[in-house]
């Protein structure tokens, strides 16, 4: 959690600037030139795949094959039409899975975290350690038995099979973050609420959760990145195309050609448009919640 606070204070660090000023006297202009030159070069290379994706998405594949370096003008939206046709359903499935998972995750985790933080719970510390212990179990151990369990419970090829595992899998981290957050809230508020006759559940709903909104958003965004980008678990779980989520569908997405595995000349334009389409939700989440995203990404060194 230390990292969260430091990153949040990036742009307010005045001291840093002051000392920079003094160092700068020794540093010649050449250094500044080198500094920005390097930064811009690295940025340029980082942007190449994105630029390539955008230009390709606006060109018919046949033109890309004819002249790779041609400009995407006039803009051609046919690729986006097929992306909408083929990828909208998988995307909605992914978003459905995400929304249900995050709601379920918070509904289970918030009361538990409240109990750990605010209620007299004999054995609470032991239970809490038990939950932290889960975070120490490497994912490689769990993949196989979880698949077997999903098989035994008949959860294969079923979106709910993803959802229950996401909800359960997200519990430890959500409880951990929420508990720390709840514990930092002033106890007097809750005492006052109790004196006014509020039940614990009311206190949770009207005081603890509204005040914990930032951490709730952080949890929601982190899990968005996790669930939206998850490839392995849906690939294992979902067999029929009617259940494919976005990541699974994208792997085989080749709107203008045959099966992607055997296609020597895939519909690169169509695929690029599909990739852009798939990036839109993450872009929206990122733009609206960038602060939380960065805070979350660095908070206690999240899932790599």
């Amino acid at each position: 959690m230390t990292d969260t606070t430091t990153v949040a204070s990036v742009s307010h660090n005045r001291n840093g600037q002051a000392r920079l000023g003094r160092l700068r006297l020794r540093a010649p202009g050449l250094w500044t030139l080198l500094q920005f030159g390097l930064l811009l070069t690295i940025l340029f290379f980082s942007a190449i795949p994105i630029v390539m994706m955008l230009t390709m998405s606006f060109r018919p594949t046949i033109l890309i094959y004819a002249d790779f370096w041609g400009l995407p003008w006039p803009l051609n939206f046919a690729n986006y039409t097929s992306a909408l046709i083929y990828l909208l359903a998988p995307m909605l499935r992914t978003l459905f899975v995400y929304v249900v998972s995050i709601v379920g995750m918070l509904i289970c985790a918030a009361p538990a975290a409240y109990a750990f933080a605010r209620l007299k719970l004999p054995g609470g510390m032991q239970l809490f350690s038990l939950i932290l212990l889960i975070m120490m179990i490497p994912g490689t151990i769990l993949l196989t038995p979880r698949f077997v369990l999903a098989n035994q419970l008949g959860l294969r090829d079923n979106l709910w099979g993803l959802i229950v595992f996401y909800i359960a899998g997200g519990q430890p981290f959500a409880i951990f973050l929420l508990t720390s957050f709840f514990r930092a809230q002033p106890a007097e508020m809750f005492d006052a609420a109790r004196i006014d006759g509020a039940t614990e559940l009311q206190a949770l709903r009207s005081i603890a959760i509204p005040l914990a909104w930032p951490i709730v958003i952080t949890i929601a965004i982190l899990n968005f990145v996790g669930i939206y980008n998850d490839l392995i678990w849906p690939t294992l779980m979902l067999s029929s195309p009617d259940n494919h989520t976005l990541t699974v569908a994208l792997q085989r997405y080749n709107p203008g050609g045959g099966p992607v595995e055997v296609s020597a000349l895939p519909d690169v334009g169509g695929q690029a448009a599909g990739y852009v389409f798939a990036s839109i939700p993450q872009l929206l989440v990122f733009v609206t919640g960038m602060r939380y995203f960065i805070a979350g990404l660095t908070s206690g060194a999240v899932k790599a």
Binding site: I50, M125, P138, G169, L231, Q251, S279, G300, A301
Partner: protein, 668 residues
């Protein structure tokens, strides 16, 4: 616990205790696994016991009673056997296609030339008649009559199911079309199967009452003598149970070979299955596999009722095996017991864990006190319960199960067997895995370099920008590529490396180096390098933000002092930044290691491990064992070894950096 203020409750769990409890948990789970194995493995659901072979090449067989069987051989000999020795024999003009026992110690034989002959134990011939086609199936009717299937050839459409009275008069003849490969009598109806995959019923009047179409060409059928169950087997190793109204109750694929014989057990207890490759299977009435073993290397041609309710299996070679199925019905209960035990064990483990954590040497009085507090804190438990329950089912139970199945050959098509350390031995001989380890080590080095160098460079460069605004914009610009979902980034790189139109080849073409174009991901020599270079220039956002945040925490006084002492940028970097960033460097290193050991998504999408084993990694082998090979025991064992490596890593890290914050670090 009484005097511990709740507000400070679980801020920082005591690590040594956690470690010891973890070790205790592992030891306990191991002990339990061994005990469970000993308790449950001894008598299997069904067992095989080889008997002395018959001196005959079996084509068809039937049992007259517990001790007596009659065999039609491929040399056209009809013989009666008692306790393994031939008591009567007779040469027939043609090959026996089917044999069925009749009441009164008689049996009926159908030949491929269309002859139907009734014999007694001493092989004296009774009734007999000849049909124009061949006989493909025979079954007795309980009143002494019989039902048979006949037709002219494998591709003919003229197959008939004929029902006869005990005296040999034809009662009905029903045209069923497609080549019929067997008949049975069940629930007052004659049931036939054909090569088209149909199961059909013909009633006593010869009217077809129902027909069910299955997926595969059917070649074996058996109904239990009491009419409680009907099973059919197909050419692709599948067995179905069919209900009295024609519904398929379940379907199980047992092998890739033809199902040559079936024997339904009474009371719906199950079925014994014989396959072309010499495998024998036993399923209970619910279709759960209780036995599956390659018993001999010749086709299991006949399965007949044997002594003590067992089933006798006869292979073409004459090999004879006793299939002991008496325990089959018990097996289902046993399985439930096993589950209950497992749950009980899990509860025990959790309880032991809780007790262990609660501390030792508490008195009974404290327990009573505790009970009172537990009762007063019941709301808390209610709030915690759903979450704990979810984690118990979907995380703790799988973790325990992983441990158990690592020592078994668990797959979905044969019963689980305890194999000790065989999975771990197998790893040492698995060429894919060994190639994967080598690649993993190369990728590990590359990942470490990629995660430390460029992100640190970028963090430093941005940190030393004068203007706060520019600083902010550059930081944002470097984080911006994160809007592209991971899978899209990988797929984009796959496009960049693509052979015909990929960006890399296009650039080579454009600058006149067209002769160096190649399928970067498709050639042994370049695939691993392409995987390593993927993501260039590797500004890992997580590492970048961690380093950047780390730089901000270094006190500005230190930088000022360095400036006063006249240190240049490079000196300052080595003397101040690197030591100051040590915790961050360790963190990034740790995650680079972790990602290299258990990550495989990128490789899975880019190359699938190919070409050959050029880019294989162990975690990918684990995934393949789950997704395509269904070798869960082996997959679990690989997972355990990888986890053990990670465990060592965690241990080393704790040693190197004991004061690090342990906040919410997840290995998942």
């Amino acid at each position: 616990m009484t005097n511990r203020p709740l507000a400070t409750l679980p801020a920082r769990p005591n690590r040594p205790v956690l470690l010891w409890v973890g070790l205790g948990l592992v030891a306990l789970a191991f002990g339990v696994s061994v005990v469970a194995y000993l308790a449950f493995s001894a008598p299997g659901g069904a067992t095989l016991e080889p008997q002395p072979a018959l001196d005959a090449r079996v084509a068809a067989a039937a049992a007259l009673d517990d001790q007596t069987i009659v065999v039609g051989s491929v040399t056209n000999e009809l013989s009666v056997w008692e306790a393994g020795s031939r008591v009567a024999a007779r040469q027939l003009p043609f090959l026996v296609a089917a044999i069925a026992p009749l009441p009164n110690d008689q049996f009926v034989v159908g030949l491929v030339n269309g002859e139907v002959q009734v014999y007694d134990r001493a092989l004296n011939q009774g009734l007999g008649w000849k049909l124009p086609g061949r006989i493909t199936g025979l079954a007795a009717r309980p009143n002494g009559g019989l039902v048979l299937a006949t037709g002219s050839g494998p591709a003919a459409q003229d197959y008939q199911v004929q029902q006869y009275a005990p005296d040999g008069t034809l009662l009905s003849s029903t045209l069923v079309g497609q080549a019929t490969r067997g008949v049975a009598f069940s629930n007052e109806q004659s049931i036939f199967i054909n090569t088209k995959g149909e199961v059909g019923a013909v009633d006593a009047q010869g009217q077809r009452s129902w027909t069910t179409l299955t997926q595969q060409s059917l070649i074996a059928i058996s109904a239990s003598s009491d009419g409680s169950a009907l099973y059919v087997g197909d050419v692709r190793g599948g067995v179905s149970r069919v209900a009295a109204d024609g519904r398929v109750l379940w379907y199980q694929v047992l092998t890739e070979y033809e199902i040559d014989s079936l024997q339904a057990l009474p009371d719906g207890a199950g079925v014994v299955v014989g396959a072309r490759d010499g495998s024998i299977f036993a399923l209970d009435g619910d279709g759960t596999l209780q036995l599956g073993r390659r018993a001999t290397d010749s086709p299991i041609k006949a399965l007949v009722p044997g002594p003590q309710g067992n089933v006798l299996a006869l292979a073409t070679s004459g090999a004879r095996l006793d299939v002991k199925v008496a325990t089959l019905r018990f097996a289902a209960t046993r399985e439930q017991l096993q589950t209950v035990t497992l749950i009980a064990v899990a509860a025990l483990v959790v309880a032991a864990l809780g007790l262990g954590l609660a501390g030792w040497g508490r008195t009974a009085g404290a327990i009573v006190l505790l009970a009172g507090r537990v009762y007063r804190g019941r709301l808390g438990y209610v709030l915690v319960a759903p979450s704990l329950l979810l984690m118990a089912i979907f995380t703790y139970y799988p973790a325990l199960m992983a441990f158990y199945i690592s020592f078994t050959d668990f797959n979905l098509s044969s019963p689980m067997e305890f194999v000790g350390l065989r999975n771990f031995e197998l790893m040492l001989r698995d060429t894919y895995l060994l190639a994967g380890v080598k690649n993993m080590l190369i990728l590990l080095v590359a990942n470490v370099v990629k995660h430390i160098t460029i992100p640190l460079l970028v963090a430093e460069l941005i940190f030393w920008i004068r203007s706060d605004t520019l600083k902010y914009w550059f930081r944002t610009a470097f984080v911006f590529p994160a809007i592209v979902p991971g899978i899209v980034a990988i797929l984009l790189w796959k496009t960049i490396w693509a052979p015909n139109f990929g960006l890399v080849n296009q650039i080579l073409q454009a600058i006149g180096l067209g002769q160096y174009q190649r399928a970067w991901l498709g050639e042994d020599a370049t695939a691993l390098w392409a995987v390593i270079l993927t993501g260039f220039p590797w500004v890992d956002i997580f590492a970048f933000l961690v380093f950047f945040g780390g730089l901000l925490t270094i006190s500005s006084d230190v930088f000022d002092a360095a400036a006063v002492d006249g240190a240049n940028g490079l000196q300052r970097f080595w003397a101040i930044d690197i030591p100051g960033l040590w915790p961050q460097i360790m963190l990034v290193l740790f995650f680079a290691f972790l990602g290299s050991i258990q990550g495989f998504e990128g490789i899975y999408v880019l190359t699938g491990g190919g070409p050959g084993t050029a880019t294989y990694v162990p975690a990918l082998q684990m995934f393949m064992m789950i997704s395509t090979n269904a070798k869960f025991g082996y997959a679990s064992a690989i997972g355990f070894v990888l986890a053990a490596v990670i465990g060592i890593l965690v241990f080393v890290r704790n040693r190197l950096d004991p004061q690090r914050s342990e906040s919410g670090e997840s290995l998942a």
